[in-house]
Amino acid sequence: MWSEAEQRELEEILKKYPTKRSALLPALYLAQREKNWLDDDDIEAVAEALDVPVTDVHAVVGFYTLFRREPTGKHMIHVCTDLPCALRGAEDFYLRLTERLGLPPEGGTTEDGMFTLEAVPCLAACDKAPMCQIDLQYYENLTDEMIDTVLAQLRAEARQKTEA
């Protein structure tokens, strides 16, 4: 399941630690990178690469919220709605976004498979609420117009990629 490049990357990661098991979270990130979630084969591949029992890997995957066991959209949108952000209107901002994306209040994946939207606890950007994290990038001091522009850009990029 590992590509040659991933294999090399994994070897680099392993050099950082005295035990193979310490590389578990980084290896899971690597396995999750391409399709945004982990299937059973990914979990087995990680277990095998690190000599960790498969059940242990499952236990770890289940503990941490950033590992996903189901397909998601192309981009993950995490909107913080915790107290400091909520005091600055983040809950309403999030709810309006679910409506514009045609999603229920609990979030989910858009029909075109582009975005998975989730409300999450604190992302350490409380002074710049409303804010969200899309994949790695933080977007801060957001208005509805700003987030719509960002999402439209991501959609346009995806279209360009499929056409090319």
């Binding site: 950082k16 630690y17 005295p18 035990t19 098991r21 310490s22 590389a23 578990l24 979270l25 980084p26 899971l28 990130y29 690190l50 960790v52 236990a59 770890v60 503990f63 941490y64 919220t65 950033l66 590992f67 995490h78 915790d82 107290l83 400091p84 909520a86 005091l87 600055r88 606890p121 604190c122 992302l123 350490a124 950007a125 409380c126 002074d127 710049k128 609420a129 994290q133 790695l136 990038q137 933080y138």
Partner: protein, 419 residues
């Protein structure tokens, strides 16, 4: 002037020197002089003594004296580790992210000095999974430090070998608790460990380990370069130095502000934060994020240091001030905080796992208009069963929103059940 209490920034130095994240700028501004001085002219024990004498206390929240923590590492121990806690996840706290993104070399330098002081040759910086983006910036700074020979086999051209690695968690508030962090770094679920043994004796990979917060590390270079007296000119006798205060919620200018310890809360909110929007009054402030006991408006003249904040029945902690104005429904706010702790309870011990679950249920009942007076009385009973009985501080923190909101704003609960 950084502000009325501080001529120039000591921690948030990028506010005075915008490009300080670049290693050449950092070096030309005296960067890595502290590490050089420590490695070339000081014995490890002298470094520990200096940090002890400085009065620096852990900036992650517990406020434990940093030099004392370092001195717990057994003399002559092999395979010692330094772990920098960058798991910054307390709602309202966003200082470590700014330090790592904009002044990363000061954090790296502090960690390197700490490593030399305790005889560690490997440093791990453990960041929360959501910091994958900020860690790209931090990794660049680490790479620069290797290229310049500051880190590596011969740190600063000496025979001291020093490696520094970044490690990301994957979304679990509990990993900010230092022993849970160690488990996570070893590739396990982030469950807290029982103490003793303390990490200084058996920490990472069962080896002696020092765990310090990002901001704590950023304090170290200045102490070594300028000395203990220089450091002690800031702050109070028992709370020495400057601190980054994260200000959020109902203020006109939220953000990170650096102040010496001991400045009144009011100055932070009114002068630096520009006061509450639309001329509203402050109802309550959470001084150390959601884990802390909220204090009402009449406490705003309290000095922000460890002792004074404890004296008003709260804590300084990570100094993350969340301001709530007079329009805030305190029961709503408390429910939100309980929801957070329920979500983040690791599930290891039942008082926390079940306690946060029941608190959440009772809040839901009260807030949906189906609560009774008995429900209000049930809340402190649940708190009593959690308090002192949980495996780690998370369960204790989870009781803070309930205790403080009932103490100061019980009438708001009563309005809900009378409706």
């Amino acid at each position: 002037m950084a502000n009325d209490y501080l001529k120039e920034h000591i921690l948030l130095r990028h506010k005075d020197i915008p490009d300080i994240g670049d290693i050449d700028v950092y070096l030309s501004d005296g960067g890595y002089e502290g590490l050089k001085k420590a490695l070339e002219t000081m014995q490890p024990a002298e470094v520990i003594e200096a940090v002890k004498a400085s009065g620096l206390r852990g900036r992650g929240g517990a406020g434990f004296p940093t030099g004392v923590k370092w001195s717990f590492i057994p003399k002559g121990a092999k395979d010692v580790y330094i772990v920098v806690n960058a798991d910054e996840s307390e709602p309202g706290t966003f200082k470590d992210r700014e330090l790592m993104e904009y002044n990363p070399h000061q954090v790296i330098e502090g960690a390197a000095i700490a490593a030399y002081a305790v005889g560690a040759h490997t440093v791990y910086i453990y960041g929360r999974g959501e910091f994958k983006g900020p860690f790209v910036t931090l990794q660049k700074a680490v790479d620069q430090a290797y290229e310049k020979g500051i880190l590596g086999k011969n740190a600063m051209g000496t025979d001291y070998a020093l490696d520094l690695h970044l490690h990301l968690g994957a979304g679990a508030y509990i990993c900010g608790e230092e022993t849970a962090l160690l488990n996570s770094l070893e590739g396990y679920r982030g469950y807290p460990r029982s103490r003793p043994p303390f990490p200084a004796v058996e920490g990472l990979y069962a080896k002696p380990t020092v765990i310090n917060n990002v901001e704590t590390m950023a304090n170290v270079p200045g102490i070594i370069v300028h000395g203990v007296e220089w450091y002690r000119q800031f702050g109070t006798e028992k709370s020495a130095g400057t601190k980054v205060f994260s200000l959020s919620g109902h203020v006109n200018r939220p953000g990170n502000y650096e102040l010496p310890l001991g400045v009144p809360i009011r100055y932070l909110i009114e002068e630096l934060g520009g006061g509450v929007p639309n001329g509203k009054r402050v109802k309550a402030v959470l001084p150390a994020g959601e884990s802390s006991l909220m204090v009402p408006e009449d406490k705003l003249d309290t000095p922000m240091d460890y002792e004074s904040m404890a004296a008003i029945g709260s804590m300084l902690g990570s100094a993350s001030f969340i301001v709530m104005d007079e329009t805030v429904d305190i029961v709503w706010a408390a429910e939100k905080m309980i929801h957070f702790f329920k979500h983040e309870s690791c599930g290891k011990c039942s008082p926390c796992r079940e306690g946060t679950y029941w608190l959440s249920n009772v809040y839901h009942r009260i807030r949906s208009g189906e609560g009774t007076m008995e429900d209000i009385d049930l809340l402190p009973k649940i708190v009593e069963q959690m308090s002192g009985n949980t495996f780690c501080p998370l369960g204790e923190f989870a009781t803070s929103p309930v205790k403080a909101s009932l103490l100061h704003f019980r009438h708001e609960y009563e309005q809900y059940v009378k409706k």
